[in-house]
Symmetry: C2
Subunit: 208 residues, 2 copies
């Protein structure tokens, strides 16, 4: 390959955040360099895979010396567009939505929950400093607050409708907590979080 690589496999993209996370950990331990061997050990993967993954984007290492952690981190964060903050909103202010809003892990990584929406006008209030607005005001808020990511925490039956509206509002990414597979246009990306599916996959192995 020569310069800029096109159409990188999704499976590779999905591993990059793991590298970022582990490099952050190493940095906190005052490490300055790391080899693909060591990174592979920490992530229980092969050095070859790590080097191959990086090779899609450029040459980040030094032969005989490994990778400079600060440099590699910055490169990976740039590739993933993490060197900026992203404005998000939560749709569904029930128990799950409240838990998501109260979770501090998003903000820590630059994903800011700017507003929440719910159909019920009863629970219009604040959750952990996040205003809860009527779902009818979605379009206005998403545009005014430059929100690019929607976090869906409504019941399964309502999720497709909510997602359709989000897409119409110009949302570019959806994190879907509803246990269903939404239909999404292919200029919008979507990741699904369903711990029950994980438990069910796991159950296959539990009797072995």
């Amino acid at each position: 390959m020569n310069d800029i690589e096109h159409d990188i496999p999704e499976i590779v993209i999905n591993r990059l955040p793991l590298y970022v996370r582990t490099l952050n950990d190493l940095k906190l331990l005052n490490q300055t360099t790391v080899s693909s061997e060591h990174l592979g050990f920490l992530l229980q993967t092969t050095p070859a895979q790590i080097r191959k993954d990086f090779s899609h984007f450029g040459k980040f290492g030094k032969q005989g010396r490994g990778y400079n952690i600060d440099f590699l981190l910055d490169e990976l964060r740039n590739i993933l567009n993490l060197n900026k903050t992203w404005n998000t909103c939560v749709i569904g202010a029930g128990k799950l939505g409240q838990a998501v809003i109260n979770y501090q892990g998003f903000k820590k990584e630059g994903y800011l929950i700017k507003v929440a929406f719910d159909i019920s006008t009863k629970k219009l209030s604040n959750i952990n400093d996040v205003e809860v607005r009527s779902i009818s005001e979605m379009n206005q808020y998403i545009k005014e607050l430059n929100i690019k990511i929607g976090i869906v925490t409504v019941p399964s039956a309502d999720a497709q409708g909510v997602i359709d509206r989000l897409v119409q509002c110009g949302i570019k990414g959806i994190l879907n907590y509803a246990p269903m597979k939404p239909m999404i246009p292919n200029n919008v990306s979507c990741m699904n979080i369903d711990p029950v599916l994980s438990l069910q996959s796991m159950s296959y192995y539990l009797d072995k």
Copy 2:
């Protein structure tokens, strides 16, 4: 292939719960049969993949007629060991742990949270009818209550220690909410839930 197939790819196992979920949805709509074509449409995958996935386990369909939903569901649920309930425990009774305990989706699918553990003796009490016990009593409770799955909701720094203890207590499956990749012996299975990783992968596509 002939009778019982060995060593089925994990990627296949991970898709089975999606089929189960969708078949349940169809059942609620009073459908009695489904083709791989239709199931593929609902899950945005190819009919060939679905048929190939099933073929690892047997012949569940009828040529020219598709699959009987009740029959297929029962077969898939048996393969995944879902036709029973699983006892679980939650380790970490902080905000995240409380949210997990309050989430009704686990019980609905047969994953029963029988007890929670925490180091802090201050918060020893009940969360949604689930007793919170000291982490020092873990071994005793896991054995007495026949708990096979541990749901880890402690901070990242404590997770490996907790997981090591769970493994020593004979736990067979771990659902890990801590944002780290634990070291696990290979007779124990582990699935990780980290919504931040999903957002970070998604961010790659948001500028495209």
